[in-house]
C-alpha cells in the first residue's frame, strides 16, 4: 500500500495537477451555488474539458474536484437562501437557514466548511484503509435490505419531526412518495397518474420540488410578513462574526467524528449516497443529543448543521469505493464519472488497483488536496458570500424568485415545469403556515423511486412477500423502523397513564 501512496503522491504533486484540483474546486463551488445545477449536471458539463486533458488521472482528479466543489457550493445556497440545489444538501438547510436568519450566516458557512473538510478528509482516510474490505460488506446488501433501509430512513425522519408532529410528518412523507410515482414507472414503463399530460410523463423534477418546498414558501412568507426581513445595517454587523467559540467547537467535534464515519459507510452502499447519509446523520445526531439540544434542532442548532455536512462529504468519498474497486457506480454522479473513465480508456474494477495504480492512488491523494483547497479557498471568501444577505429586501426577493424559476427552467426549457413549481409552491406555503413539516415530503419524493424499485425487485426475486420475514437483516431493519415511529407515542401514553395513576393515588 505504501508503494501505492507514493505513486499517488508522485502523480498529484506536480504543478499541473495542483492547478487542476484548484480549478476544479473553484468551478464546482461557483456553479454549485446556482440553484438548479447540481453536481451531476456540472460534471456532465465538464466531461468534454476533462477528456481533452487526455490523461485519465488528470481527468478524474479534475472531475472529483468539481464534485466536492459542487457539494460545498450547494450548501452555500441552502444556508443563505434556503434553496438547496442538490439533494445531498437539503438537510443542511434545516438548521443552516435558521442560523442565517438569526444573523449567524458567517458562522453557519464556517461550520459547514469545516464539517465538510473533516468529513471529506476522514472519508479519504477510511477509503485508503478499508476500500477492499468494504466492498464485501456492500455486496451483502440485497434489494430487500435496501428496501428496509429506506423504510428505516423515512420513518426516522418522521419520528424525529418533534412531539405532536409525527402524524403530520407521516402524511407529508406519504404525499412525497405519491408525487414520486407520477410519471413513467420503471417497471414496464407504464405511464402513471399523468392524466394524459405529456409533460408529466417524465415525472416531477427533483429540483422543481425542492424549490417549491423551500425557496418559494420562504420568499412568499418574506413578502407577506414585513417583520421577517431585517434592516441592512442590523445584518452587516452580524455577518462579520465568523468565529466559533471553544465550547461550540467542543460540541460539534464528536458530531463531525461520528458522522464522517457513518456517512462514509452509507456512501459505500451503492444507491444510498450523500442524500441518505445526510438525512440519516441529521436524524441520528438529533436522537443522540440531550432534550434541550433537541429543541434547538430545526431552529439553528450547530450540531444539526455540522452533522449533515460532515456526512454528505464523507459519503461522496465513500461512493468512490464501489466505483473504483468494483466498477459499479453507486450514484448518478459516479455513473457519469464512470462514463468519462471509459471514454478515457480506463476500466474501473478490481484490476484498476493492480493495472493502473497511479490512477487509483492519484484520485485518493487528490481528495486530500481538494478538501484542503476547498477549505482555504472558502474560509476567506465567506464574508463576501454572506454579504449576499445584506442586499435590500426589494432586490433580494425578486432575485431569489428569479433564481428559483431559472433553476427549474434551465436544462429543461419547459414552461409546464414552472407552472408545477408555482402551484406546489403556493400549496407548500399553506402547509408551512399550518405547521405541516415540508422536509419529509421532499425526502419521501427522493427516496420514493429507490424504495419502489427495490421493493419491486425483491417481490420479483422472491415471487411474493417472503423477503420480509425470510431475510433476518431486512426484518431487523423493518422492526427498527416500526419501533422508531411507535415508541415515542407509546412512551407518552405510558407516562400519561402513570401520571393519571399518581393523581388518583393522591
Amino acid at each position: 500500500m505504501l508503494e501505492g501512496i507514493m505513486a499517488g503522491l508522485a502523480t498529484v504533486f506536480s504543478f499541473k495537477m495542483i492547478l487542476i484540483v484548484i480549478g476544479g474546486c473553484l468551478i464546482g463551488t461557483f456553479i454549485g451555488m446556482l440553484p438548479g445545477l447540481g453536481p451531476m449536471s456540472i460534471i456532465a458539463i465538464m466531461i468534454p474539458v476533462a477528456i481533452t486533458l487526455g490523461d485519465p488521472s488528470a481527468a478524474l482528479i479534475l472531475l472529483s474536484g468539481v464534485y466536492y466543489g459542487a457539494i460545498f457550493g450547494g450548501s452555500t445556497s441552502s444556508i443563505l437562501i434556503n434553496a438547496p440545489g442538490v439533494a445531498g444538501t437539503v438537510a443542511t438547510s434545516f438548521d443552516g437557514y435558521p442560523m442565517a436568519r438569526a444573523g449567524q450566516a458567517g458562522k453557519a458557512l464556517t461550520i459547514a466548511a469545516i464539517a465538510s473538510f473533516c468529513g471529506g478528509t476522514i472519508g479519504a482516510l477510511l477509503l485508503m484503509g478499508f476500500a477492499p474490505a468494504l466492498v464485501e460488506v456492500a455486496l451483502l446488501f440485497h434489494s430487500a435490505e435496501y428496501f428496509a433501509l429506506m423504510v428505516l430512513g423515512l420513518s426516522a425522519i418522521a419520528a424525529f419531526a418533534g412531539s405532536g408532529q409525527v402524524g403530520k410528518a407521516l402524511i407529508m412523507t406519504v404525499l412525497g412518495l405519491m408525487l414520486a410515482t407520477i410519471g413513467e414507472s420503471s417497471l414496464f414503463s407504464a405511464p402513471r397518474f399523468t392524466m394524459g399530460i405529456m409533460d408529466l410523463q417524465s415525472g416531477i423534477g427533483f429540483i422543481t420540488l425542492a424549490m417549491a418546498m423551500f425557496a418559494l414558501p420562504e420568499a412568499l412568507l418574506l413578502i407577506l410578513d414585513l417583520s421577517r426581513s431585517k434592516s441592512a445595517d442590523e445584518q452587516s454587523s452580524e455577518i462579520s462574526n465568523l468565529r466559533i467559540s471553544k465550547e461550540e467547537a467542543k460540541t460539534i467535534a464528536p458530531v463531525i467524528g461520528r458522522q464522517s464515519i457513518q456517512g462514509f459507510l452509507v456512501g459505500v452502499l451503492p444507491g444510498a449516497g450523500a442524500t441518505i447519509a445526510s438525512f440519516l446523520g441529521y436524524a441520528v445526531e438529533r436522537n443522540l443529543s440531550t432534550p434541550e439540544e433537541q429543541k434547538q434542532f430545526g431552529k439553528g442548532s450547530i450540531k444539526g448543521l455540522a452533522a449533515p455536512e460532515a456526512a454528505n462529504n464523507a459519503a461522496c468519498t465513500g461512493s468512490f469505493v464501489p466505483l473504483l474497486t468494483l466498477g459499479i457506480p453507486g450514484s448518478g454522479t459516479t455513473a457519469i464519472l464512470l462514463g468519462a473513465l471509459v471514454a478515457l480508456n480506463v476500466t474501473p474494477g478490481p484490476r484498476l488497483m493492480v493495472d493502473q495504480p497511479e490512477v487509483f492512488w492519484g484520485v485518493i491523494m487528490s481528495m486530500y488536496i481538494g478538501n484542503f483547497v476547498l477549505l482555504i479557498l472558502n474560509l476567506p471568501l465567506i464574508p463576501y458570500i454572506a454579504k449576499l444577505l445584506t442586499v435590500p429586501r426589494n432586490y433580494l426577493i425578486p432575485f431569489v424568485l428569479f433564481f428559483t424559476l431559472m433553476g427549474v427552467y434551465i436544462g429543461q426549457n419547459n414552461a409546464t415545469e414552472l407552472m408545477i413549481l408555482i402551484g406546489l409552491g403556493v400549496l407548500a406555503t399553506a402547509f408551512r403556515i399550518t405547521g405541516y413539516p415540508l422536509a419529509p415530503l421532499l425526502i419521501g419524493f427522493i427516496l420514493g423511486p429507490m424504495l419502489e424499485n427495490n421493493f419491486s425487485r425483491s417481490v420479483q426475486l422472491y415471487d411474493g412477500f417472503g423477503f420480509l420475514y425470510e431475510r433476518p437483516l431486512t426484518m431487523v431493519l423493518l422492526v427498527l423502523a416500526f419501533l422508531l415511529v411507535a415508541l415515542p407515542s407509546l412512551k407518552r401514553a405510558i407516562s400519561a397513564r402513570k401520571q393519571k395513576a399518581q393523581t388518583l393515588v393522591e
Binding site: 403530520k168 402524511i171 425578486p398 424568485l401 414552472l418 403556515i433
Partner: protein, 161 residues
C-alpha cells in the same frame, strides 16, 4: 374548520382519487404479458394509497389542532401583505407563460423590475440597469459558457413562436 383541517381534508380527497386511479383504472392499460409478473406498476401506489387514506383520516378526525404552526399570527391576518404576495404569484405565472414568447432576456428584465416595483422599489435608474445586467449575465453564463441552450430573444426574431 381551521386551515390545518382543510389541508387534511384535501389530502384525504387526494388520496381517495389517487387510490381509485391505482386500484381500478391503472391496471386496464397493462399489457397481458406484464400481468404474469408478481408485482405490477400499480402495486406500490396501491399500498401507499391505503396508508395515506388511514393517515389522512386520523389527521382529520383525531390529530388536528394539537400543534400550531408558528409562521403567521392567525388573530391578525389583516396585517399581512396579501396583495403583494398575490401579485408576485401572478407575475411568476406570467413569467412562466411569456418566457418562450419574449425570450429569456426581455422576460427576465420585466419580471425582476416588476416584482421589485410591487414590493415598493421606485428607484428605476438603479433597478433597470441591475435587472438588465443580471438577465444578460446569467444568459451569457448559462448559454455561452456552460453551453445549455436558453433562447435569449423574442420569438418573432426566429420566425414564428
Amino acid at each position: 374548520m381551521t386551515l390545518e383541517r382543510w389541508l387534511a381534508l384535501i389530502f384525504l380527497i387526494f388520496c381517495l382519487v389517487y387510490g381509485y386511479a391505482a386500484h381500478f383504472v391503472m391496471d386496464d392499460a397493462l399489457p397481458v404479458f406484464a400481468k404474469f409478473s408478481p408485482v405490477w406498476p400499480s402495486s406500490f401506489p396501491k399500498a401507499i394509497s391505503v396508508i395515506g387514506i388511514v393517515l389522512g383520516f386520523m389527521q382529520l378526525v383525531f390529530w388536528s389542532g394539537k400543534h400550531k404552526g408558528e409562521e403567521l399570527d392567525f388573530n391578525h391576518l389583516g396585517q399581512y401583505q396579501w396583495k403583494s404576495a398575490l401579485s408576485i404569484v401572478a407575475l411568476m405565472i406570467a413569467y412562466a407563460l411569456l418566457l418562450r414568447f419574449l425570450g429569456f432576456v426581455a422576460a427576465t428584465i420585466l419580471f425582476i423590475s416588476l416584482s421589485a416595483f410591487v414590493l415598493g422599489e421606485r428607484n428605476f435608474k438603479v433597478l433597470i440597469p441591475i435587472s438588465a445586467l443580471t438577465s444578460f449575465g446569467i444568459w451569457y453564463l448559462v448559454d455561452q459558457v456552460l453551453g445549455i441552450f436558453l433562447r435569449p430573444w423574442p420569438a418573432f426574431i426566429y420566425g414564428g413562436a
